[in-house]
Homo-oligomer: 361 residues x 2
Amino acid sequence: MERITVTLGERSYPITIAAGLFNDPASFLPLKGGDHVMVVTNETLAPLYLHSIHTVLERAGVIVDQVILPDGEQYKSLAVLDQVFTALLKKPHGRDTTLIALGGGVIGDMTGFAAASYQRGVRFIQVPTTLLSQVDSSVGGKTAVNHPLGKNMIGAFYQPASVVIDLDCLKTLPPRELSSGLAEVIKYGIILDGAFFTWLEDHLDELLALDPDALSYCLRRCCELKAAVVAADEFENGQRALLNLGHTYGHAIETHMGYGNWLHGEAVSAGIMMAAHTARRLGQLGMDDIRRVQVLLARAGLPVTGPKEMAPADYLPHMMRDKKVVSGQLRLVLPRSIGQAEVRTGVANDIVLASIADCQA
Amino acid sequence: MERITVTLGERSYPITIAAGLFNDPASFLPLKGGDHVMVVTNETLAPLYLHSIHTVLERAGVIVDQVILPDGEQYKSLAVLDQVFTALLKKPHGRDTTLIALGGGVIGDMTGFAAASYQRGVRFIQVPTTLLSQVDSSVGGKTAVNHPLGKNMIGAFYQPASVVIDLDCLKTLPPRELSSGLAEVIKYGIILDGAFFTWLEDHLDELLALDPDALSYCLRRCCELKAAVVAADEFENGQRALLNLGHTYGHAIETHMGYGNWLHGEAVSAGIMMAAHTARRLGQLGMDDIRRVQVLLARAGLPVTGPKEMAPADYLPHMMRDKKVVSGQLRLVLPRSIGQAEVRTGVANDIVLASIADCQA
Ligand SMILES: NC(=O)c1ccc[n+]([C@@H]2O[C@H](COP(=O)([O-])OP(=O)(O)OC[C@H]3O[C@@H](n4cnc5c(N)ncnc54)[C@H](O)[C@@H]3O)[C@@H](O)[C@H]2O)c1
Ligand SMILES: NC(=O)c1ccc[n+]([C@@H]2O[C@H](COP(=O)([O-])OP(=O)(O)OC[C@H]3O[C@@H](n4cnc5c(N)ncnc54)[C@H](O)[C@@H]3O)[C@@H](O)[C@H]2O)c1
Ligand SMILES: [Zn+2]
Ligand SMILES: [Zn+2]
């Protein structure tokens, strides 16, 4: 078992990583007998894991309610969030309740925002079940729902009380979703840790085969990197923005194509390539590095070009609505080398457009 | 001009109180030329004040957008909140925008929650236009919208960057709304300041006549009391709960009667009487004090009995959904004397029911 701490003073919390955690009530820190919980999950995960978690918690004396939402990014909305509030109020759950997010990033982001807002804030536990949510979205307290005019536009910074990562649940994850998570994994290597990028080049096949040792190391390293960034910059005033490598371009893809058609990691993968080409055009990244990134993303089963339905000009209006836009200025995360990145403002639009064109299929 | 500071470390902010503030761009601290703002207001206030504020700010070089919502407690909802997000995203407004809440508690609570959630938090300024919002809701950072199953159930603790109170705007406020605000004013006297209660007994007629000196003193004293409570207990873990005197009973009235039929202050007024009778039945408040409270509320034009449509048993299910309920236990704020109150748990249901019956018309 691996345990990492996200250090945020009074709001510090543990990330627990191991196989078989769902069968042990002690995994679900800091729950104790007598606590009232609401498990928030979706129609795909409920038949797979809800029964066993429910049973384990009830045996430990926890009072368990559940709400099962429809599955999909298009349901990460204010309207579906309201269903969570309705479920909580029907029982009713008080300020001393705990929400448990059992699912991928969609469930985690939405449940986190529900916990931030229900009665102005109740406790919540992240139980991420996709690779993407295990290495990224469950750690760090960014919560949100989408708006038809922009992804993740409504939300809160709100930290969980603990994160419970059971390796076993990746066995039921569709391969395309595993690949999507690998986009964020590879992202960490590019922005923060060149040695980890090299490790990924050496161990990608084991990860794709769900080898437990490789998986366990990979999850630990990603969570450590994320925890360090979050501890240094909880509210994204500085270096935390680096985690958005590829995301400004990627969000444009997700929004334009309609939520749920391109997976988040797929859009980020194409976006990373666009950011890499932008960096190259600004003279700060060599073709060799671009090729290493492109090969690793492609080996992970990820797209390295944008959707053929989108022209470069289709990206800009969406990119201008990005949360990183300040005073109408685009702020782009660009790699400087493999293992290092920076935030740049004032990049000319024609360079951005040309880099997107570099990644047209 | 009166200026009070709400002391919350980095998040400290000023409350400015005077007549004529809307005509001076300097009132709208901390705005400066070049800032982008979204004024959120309603159909009643827009024709009265929006044009002059718009003009004053634009002359100071601020870029001003506006969104005009329907008027009423029934529109303090997630659905109407979404209209604010849509307006912000259409322009689009970035993370560096500022929301200005121009209106009573409904607009203030909703705009505050919009500011807390838009892109995970943007700056906002409270410009309260009702007595109730000037003495209570605009200060302290409690923001929320209602849910059909409970009032203020969805929200955040989120502090404004400043509060701008223009006395002049009370001249257009309907008398029934002025009375509603006086319920919260009288509440401060009962829970925190017996001398202020006596001052109110002596100056109520001047307040009802909108005498500027009386009004100015009253607003300052209420804001000072509120600021002190908030500084000591921002997140309502302790003494801040005292501000809810009458509210647990009052919320039951508001919810049962349908939002908007009983005004917030009217429900609180009846609720204060119920709390006073509960305290009397527990042997901690004398009949003399009850009579003083009842007379002052009645002089202020407020109801001292509950709606005749509601039987005592109708209150309890709503009261159990109160945010102060912990582990299924009702927590009631009860006066100990005029000028002092406390939070009590474990009050028997039949005492609560009998005290509600004491206040049946
Ligand atoms: N908060 C953050 O910091 C952050 C960071 C990155 C991404 N995100 C958000 O995360 C979301 C994407 O998350 P995601 O990629 O986990 O998508 P997801 O939550 O939609 O899950 C992907 C699919 O896999 C299914 N699934 C999940 N776990 C499974 C399992 N163990 N077995 C079988 N099926 C399983 C889900 O039901 C869903 O159909 C996006 O909304 C994105 O904005 C947030
Ligand atoms: N956040 C808090 O700490 C807190 C505290 C107390 C109450 N509240 C909330 O405040 C709300 C009640 O606020 P309210 O009493 O201000 O009601 P309100 O906002 O509904 O305003 C009352 C009415 O007066 C009108 N109005 C406002 N200012 C006016 C003016 N200057 N001239 C003419 N008409 C004017 C409004 O359009 C409305 O019709 C409730 O939703 C309550 O839950 C919040
Ligand atoms: Zn991501
Ligand atoms: Zn009130």
